[in-house]
């Protein structure tokens, strides 16, 4: 296999190549043929050029009436660079996340009843942005409120194999994080605070929306 460019012999293709490369906008067949000999078959030349570039890092693509070179779609990732910026969760977001983790699936009302304050929309948006919280479904109660749960990215980030690895209340007390034992009236982890008329959480497979 040679690295020699197979287009070399055809001046018309070289001209098309240069014109399309240098153009700020897609060029129409008319614009292109103005630079070619009168008898040139522009359509055919464009097809050849497109085929030639089809496996290349750039492709010749049709855009409306015109033609343009564009980065091959599978290489689009090259044109994005990611910059990490360290950020800290607000206390409200962290507390809300903790409640979702321990009480999922949890509705906003349930989170608020545990925290004792309203959960701001921004807080929930940030948690969804972290990729640690997702919508799980809807509770089968009047109003069908949305329920929230954690994602596998949550487990990844916090180094947990499964949700079952979250320390229980006794563990928290043992670690000195809890000094009093919360009364049994508060729901334990993984037990959504179900009212008498609540359905149990649905099957997550049916419930998942993402």
């Amino acid at each position: 296999m040679s690295d020699e460019h197979p287009l070399a012999p055809d001046p018309a293709l070289r001209i098309l190549e240069a014109l399309l490369f240098a153009a700020a906008e897609p060029l129409t067949r008319e614009q292109l043929s103005a630079h070619l000999p009168a008898n040139a078959d522009v359509e055919h030349l464009l097809d050849r050029l497109a085929r030639h570039y089809s496996t290349s890092g750039v492709n010749l693509v049709r855009r409306g009436d015109g033609w343009a070179f564009r980065t091959a779609p599978d290489l689009a990732f090259l044109l994005r660079t990611e910059q990490q910026e360290p950020r800290t969760l607000s206390r409200a977001a962290l507390e809300t996340l903790a409640i979702i983790a321990y009480h999922q699936p949890a509705t906003r009302a349930e989170i608020e009843s545990i925290r004792g304050v309203a959960v701001g929309k921004g807080t929930m948006d940030i948690l969804l942005e972290t990729g640690w919280v997702r919508l799980r479904g809807r509770r089968r109660v009047p109003g069908r409120p949305v329920t929230y749960g954690t994602t596998s990215a949550f487990l990844d980030h916090f180094g947990l194999q499964s949700l079952g690895d979250l320390p229980g209340l006794e563990d928290l007390k043992g670690a000195g994080l809890l000094t009093t034992r919360p009364p049994a009236s508060l729901p334990l982890r993984f037990e959504p605070p179900l009212g008498d008329d609540d359905d149990p959480p649905e099957n997550p497979d049916q419930e998942d929306q993402g």
Partner: protein, 263 residues
């Protein structure tokens, strides 16, 4: 410092004389070197083969011509003229044996070199400009696809933060079992009654603290017992039943039943 060193120095400001000749840049020339180069070109020979003497004479003639038209060339042209006149004299006169000044040939070679260098730079500038230039004969990508920078937040939240947050909330909402501590308080009538019953049996001075110690097993009650006991003893003094004595500040308070009282 010879004149050879001076001709390119920044010329001193020449005072304008009212009504005198006009001082102007020589039209079309960018300085004396440019003028010299142009005169050299008119010799229609290669610069390498040029006669510096002839060039100096042409320059001096040109300046003279300007002055006859009552146009005074700018100072650097005149400095060059002076230098060329000097060069000419060095070229024409035989050098004295012990002459410290450079020879006319050396001066001429130096001028020659300067002219060649200027001409070389002129040619270089022209050939640079004649190259296929970007944006004129060569084009870059017309529709560059700029690299997007996605800012990905990196959350520095640890499991410990999460657990603390959870524990804090659970504690915050846990109903507190609040039980006010009940304390034994001696009432004044109680204290009075106990003092009376104590003093009934003796007529000696007794220490208030010592007496209280006898009654009280629980040190927590000592403060209230002392306060109430002392207040009750004052009351008994007022009623003439008891005498109080204290030897020194903060010393033990002693009390005794008044003679003739009680039993």
């Amino acid at each position: 410092m010879g004149i050879a060193d001076d001709w390119l120095a920044i010329p001193p400001e020449i005072e304008a004389e009212p009504g005198a000749v006009l001082r102007v840049d020589v039209e079309g020339y960018e300085g004396p070197l440019d003028l010299l180069l142009d005169l050299a070109r008119r010799q229609k020979v290669d610069l390498a083969a040029i006669s510096v003497l002839q060039l100096a004479e042409q320059y001096l003639a040109f300046i003279q011509e300007q002055r006859e038209q009552r146009i005074e060339p700018a100072a650097d042209y005149l400095v060059m003229a002076a230098w060329l006149a000097y060069l000419k004299s060095r070229l024409l006169l035989p050098a004295a044996p012990a002459d410290a000044e450079p020879s006319g040939e050396a001066l001429a070679a130096a001028l020659h070199w300067r002219l060649q260098r200027l001409q070389a730079m002129r040619r270089a500038a022209a050939s640079l400009w004649d190259r296929p230039r970007l944006g004129a004969q060569v084009l870059p990508r017309g529709a560059p696809e700029p690299v997007e920078i996605a800012h990905r937040p990196h959350w520095d939240t640890s499991l410990l933060d999460l657990l603390k947050a959870y524990a804090t909330q659970r504690e915050r909402v846990a109903p507190a079992a609040y039980a006010p501590r009940t304390r034994t308080v001696w009432s004044l009538p109680d204290a009075r009654e106990r003092l009376q019953s104590l003093l009934r049996d003796t007529s000696d001075w007794i220490s208030l603290d010592g007496y209280l110690a006898r009654f009280l097993g629980d040190p927590a009650e000592r403060a209230t017992a002392r306060a109430s006991g002392f207040a009750a003893s004052l009351e008994l003094v007022r009623q003439g039943e008891v005498e109080l004595r204290q030897e020194q500040a903060f010393g033990p308070v002693l009390l005794r039943r008044r003679e003739g009282q009680g039993a």
